[in-house]
């Protein structure tokens, strides 16, 4: 029995050495789904916990009543997007095949982006101001120009450029949280050792009786 214990220590050390080699690049076997609403579309990305993208996987979209409103397939980057028909909560389910499945909830508050509405309001206001007598045509034109440039795709591009790094960082954080870390591995081994002790204790007590 002692030799078995000694061997168990030896084998677990060996397993850890192997694990060390594998762990950086290869952490097993679970699929994750990450989704966000960018003001117009619901975007989603699926990836395995090894970092590999979930390509060609089915994504089903259910509304808050559980009715399927959309389904599609992820592209080569594991990405997927669709335009939500109305505000409300949506449940996205990713099926990556062979029993792999992930789901996430996302709520859509405003179909039109709030900044867009604000801009339109401002534009109306400025134009109204411009049409008032006593204000020059030039200012109205100036105002319009400024607003037009804000409303243009450039504006979104700038926003994207500013927000993308943050989005990426959030993404990485979520990804890290989903990864298996060594603490969990040691915790599991500890629990197993504890259970072994408990089992031996109980078995021996039964033996004595």
């Amino acid at each position: 029995m002692y030799s078995i214990l000694a061997k168990s220590v030896f084998v677990s050390i060996n397993i850890f050495l192997t694990l060390n080699m594998f762990c950086s690049s290869a952490l097993a076997h679970r699929v994750n789904l990450f989704a966000w609403y960018d003001g117009k579309m619901i975007m989603a990305e699926g990836y395995f916990s090894s970092g590999k993208k979930a390509v060609n996987s089915t994504i089903l979209v259910f509304d808050s009543k559980g009715k399927e409103v959309f389904h599609g397939i992820t592209d080569k980057k594991g990405e997927f997007s669709f335009k939500p028909p109305q505000t409300g909560d949506y449940r996205l389910v990713l099926e990556a095949g062979m029993g792999h499945r992930a789901e996430t909830l996302i709520s859509v508050k405003d179909i039109k982006s709030p900044t867009g509405e604000l801009e339109a309001e401002q534009a109306g206001l400025r134009i109204a101001e411009g049409n008032e007598p006593g204000k020059g045509l030039k200012t109205a034109e100036d105002a319009n120009k400024r607003i037009i440039s804000l409303n243009s795709e450039e504006f979104e591009e700038i926003l994207d450029r500013k927000l993308n790094p943050i989005k990426e960082q959030l993404f990485r954080l979520a990804e890290q949280g989903n990864r298996v870390n060594f603490r969990d591995v040691f915790a599991g081994l500890g629990y197993i050792a504890g259970l072994m002790g408990l089992a031996i204790y109980l078995a021996q007590r039964k033996h004595k009786k």
């Binding site: 677990s12 694990l19 097993a28």
Partner: protein, 199 residues
């Protein structure tokens, strides 16, 4: 190999849980005090094996080691695999709680069957033949598990043929690797500690 939560239908999950409980009961009956450390050691090995990811093949696959568990444990592979899967579900979110039963069944039944197949050969002193049987048990347990996973998915409505083709394709490299691994481990044990196998 781990089926996630929400994929299978309720009858399949219940049947899996029932089968796993039966297997657990038999396994616990076979486990006496001297057996416990060995079961715990192999539980630990099974628990970490799923982290050893094999980057070959179309999908993510990892070591399972259920063939070796079957050879070394027999029926007590059931409690070992159950506990290993439980902690994988808690700590790594592999599989899930509702699928714990069916996952246990899918990995432990091949383990017990292949173990029973290989053990007589290993007990006899037949050199090469026993190593061949160890290899067959190691690879066969994976193939049989893959078939059972495909079966449980198809019972829940997935079409059997394409699903099982995918699953087999993903697990053939693992089956080969586990076959080789069990030959290595068993030959090592036969040389150094034959009483572990012949016990």
């Amino acid at each position: 190999m781990h089926i996630s939560e929400g994929v299978l239908t309720v009858p399949v999950l219940l049947a899996g849980a029932g089968g796993a409980m039966l297997g657990l009961a038999v396994g616990l009956r076979h486990m006496d005090v001297q057996e416990i450390p060995r079961v715990a050691l192999l539980t630990a090995a099974f628990f970490v094996a799923s982290l050893v990811h094999i980057p070959i093949g179309p999908s993510n696959a990892h070591l399972v080691l259920n063939g070796i568990l079957g050879i070394l444990l027999g029926w007590t592979a059931f409690p070992a695999i159950f506990i290993g899967l439980f902690f994988q579900a808690v700590l790594f979110q592999f599989g899930g709680f509702t699928t714990l039963g069916i996952n246990t069944l899918n990995m432990a039944v091949p383990s017990v069957v292949m173990g029973a197949l290989a053990r007589p050969a290993l007990r006899s002193n037949s050199g090469i033949f026993s190593l061949v049987m160890a290899g067959i048990a190691g690879a066969g347990a994976i193939i049989m598990s893959a078939a059972m996973v495909a079966g449980s998915l198809s019972l829940s409505g997935d079409p059997f043929v394409p699903v099982s083709r995918l699953i087999f394709a993903a697990h053939i490299p693992i089956a080969i690797i586990e076959g080789v691994l069990s030959v290595l481990i068993i030959s090592f044990l036969l040389k150094t500690k034959p009483e572990v196998i012949k016990g």
